[in-house]
């Protein structure tokens, strides 16, 4: 459904996308993860043919991009990072207007509107103005708008950023319905939980390069020990010096916390029982641990 080879984009001397290879199969939900500035949004814009690559090739729904971007975009629905619903139109009019951009007749769009409103949970808001909608409603309408022309593939750029948990779960439900209906989805996110829950496969980007790719479970298993014990409290430095190396397979000190990665958490916990001043949190390792291991803990802006 999507095939990218050696994709490269430069701004001046900075390479923001460096030789990216991606392959997404029909019906797959694929995640693009990366810290801010990793090149996720630029990659999406390249895939849509909005900007021209400096190298590499893109084939989207069997169509070469950017050469035939117009035709390719007929088959893609886009949920952008920032809401850009048309504030001069009501909820229903937003869908009608958007369908026209795809060359649909008014009757064809109008026939789809009830289904789209139901999907977005906005059936009772059809005539509401955009300013009256909550953040979650706007996102759901943006998602419905992206489906107006019944695309084969959906691009979502951080679809749940800025939403509260309730609203986020509603979006996830909607996306699961679409996956169930056989749509192909490419989403960017920096919520690991979102990626773990939704995606079949994901790629972690950093500085425009892919640093890992695979199914979320497989990535966790291949990159990181199965358990994490986070240790903090009085006397951490002594414990780290004297004991951590012996019981942790790998450890990392971040600020006031020691992250101890291990396949044998009980050994770590036994050792910690002899240091009652220390507190700890024992949890299974997750995608965030992989992400931080691969992209580092430095702040990105």
């Amino acid at each position: 459904m999507l095939s990218v080879r050696g994709l490269t984009k430069r701004y001046g001397d900075t390479e923001v996308v460096r030789g990216l290879d991606l392959h997404v199969k029909r019906g797959e939900c694929f995640g693009l993860l990366g810290p801010n500035g990793a090149g996720k949004t630029t990659t999406l814009r390249l895939l849509l043919g909005l900007i021209e690559p400096d190298g590499g090739s893109i084939e989207l729904a069997g169509i070469a991009v950017p050469q035939h971007a117009r035709e390719a975009r007929m088959k893609v629905g886009v949920v952008p990072q920032m809401d850009n619903l048309d504030p001069d139109f009501s909820v229903r009019e937003n869908l009608l207007a958007y369908g026209r951009y795809f060359g649909m007749s008014k009757a064809a769009v109008a026939a789809r509107v009830p289904e789209l409103l139901e999907f977005a949970g906005l059936a009772s808001k059809a005539d509401a103005q955009i300013a009256q909608l909550s953040g979650g409603m706007k996102r759901r309408l943006t998602l419905a708008r992206a489906l107006v022309h019944d695309p084969d593939i959906l691009f979502l750029d951080e679809p749940t950023t800025g939403l509260d948990p309730q609203a986020r779960h509603l979006i996830w439900q909607g996306l699961r319905r679409l996956i169930g209906a056989g749509k192909t989805i490419v989403l960017t996110t920096h919520f690991m939980e979102e990626a773990e829950r939704l995606t079949d496969r994901l790629a972690i980007l950093d500085h425009g390069r892919m640093v890992a790719e695979g199914a979320p479970r497989a990535l966790i298993e291949s990159h990181i020990e199965p358990a994490v014990v986070e240790v903090y409290g009085e006397g951490l430095e002594d414990w780290m010096r004297d004991r951590a190396g012996g019981v942790c397979q790998r450890f990392e000190s971040v600020g006031e916390t020691l992250f101890c990665y291990t396949s044998h958490a009980e050994r770590v916990i036994d050792a910690l029982k002899q240091a009652p001043a220390l507190r700890y949190l024992h949890r299974p390792s997750n995608l965030e641990d992989v992400f931080l291991k691969l992209t580092g803990r430095d702040l990105r802006d």
Binding site: Y11, L48, R73, V76, V78, D88, Y101, G103
Partner: protein, 261 residues
């Protein structure tokens, strides 16, 4: 900017963009018409009767007639300019409507052509309203000749729509547009023969005036109001087309650099 310059790729896909603006306008048509048209009409009638009663014939015609011909060009210039400055800027920068549209199979060329043709439509509306006053007050020489003012008005809208889109492309905020009005539009109103004949200006300013697009617009509109065939139709028409087309092409390059980098 140079590497973004290229001949526009025109397609019929601009029509839904025009239609989008039309549908939004329709919701507020009455206040919008009043806002766009009352102002030039008040100037024209106020100055035309008030000042006109003090004046002998101006350039061989009553002052009100002289002013009416200038106002046709001046109000269509303003209608197109306001549309592509403030309204297009809202859609491009504030509401991000252009971004949303370009995720559909439209290009920036389509979106900006939609904006430009919409500006032409607003100009036509504005020009027709002034024309209606001209007809109503019988300020014309030949009714049939005044019908030629309609395509002139569309051309003026195209010219100033294209030029204004350049400002839209480089503006960081609404405040920036004031420079354009102060440095371009207002001087043009005073130099191009809206309120008084260009021949009243010092020779240097007269030669500047000859290059300005509003002069070309008025040189077409004024004879038509009087029922005469304008001289140098081709030159004036070509000048208006050239300003508008150059504006559109430069604006496309600048906006491409701004939005699609």
């Amino acid at each position: 900017m140079i590497r973004h310059l290229r001949f526009p790729r025109l397609s019929w896909r601009f029509i839904p963009v025009w239609q989008r603006n039309y549908l939004v306008w329709k919701k507020l048509a009455i206040p919008s018409i009043l806002g766009n048209l009352a102002d030039p009409m008040l100037y024209m009638l106020g100055l035309g009767y008030g000042l006109g009663s003090l004046l002998p014939d101006v350039a061989g015609m009553p002052y009100l007639t002289f002013l009416a011909a200038g106002t046709v060009a001046y109000s269509t210039m303003n209608a197109a300019t306001f549309e592509v400055l403030y309204s297009s800027f809202s859609r491009m920068h504030v509401q991000r409507t252009w971004d949303a549209i370009m995720n559909a199979p439209l290009t920036l060329d389509d979106v900006m052509l939609g904006e430009l043709t919409w500006a032409v439509s607003k100009s036509l509306l504005s020009g027709l309203a002034i024309l209606a006053v001209i007809w109503g007050l019988g300020l014309y020489g030949s009714f049939w000749m005044t019908l030629w003012i309609i395509p002139v008005v569309a051309l003026v809208g195209f010219c100033f729509g294209g030029m204004g889109l350049v400002m839209n492309a480089v503006s960081p905020s609404y405040d920036f547009f004031l420079y354009y009005f102060t440095l371009v539009i207002t001087p043009m109103v005073l130099l191009c023969g809206v309120f008084f004949p260009v021949s009243q200006l010092p020779p240097l300013l007269q030669s500047v005036s000859a290059w300005l697009p509003l002069t070309h617009a008025i040189d077409l509109a004024r004879p038509l109001v009087l029922g005469k065939t304008p001289s140098d139709i081709v030159q004036h028409g070509a000048a208006l087309c050239a300003y508008g087309f150059a504006g559109y092409v430069i604006a496309l390059a600048l906006t491409r650099r701004r939005l699609l980098k």
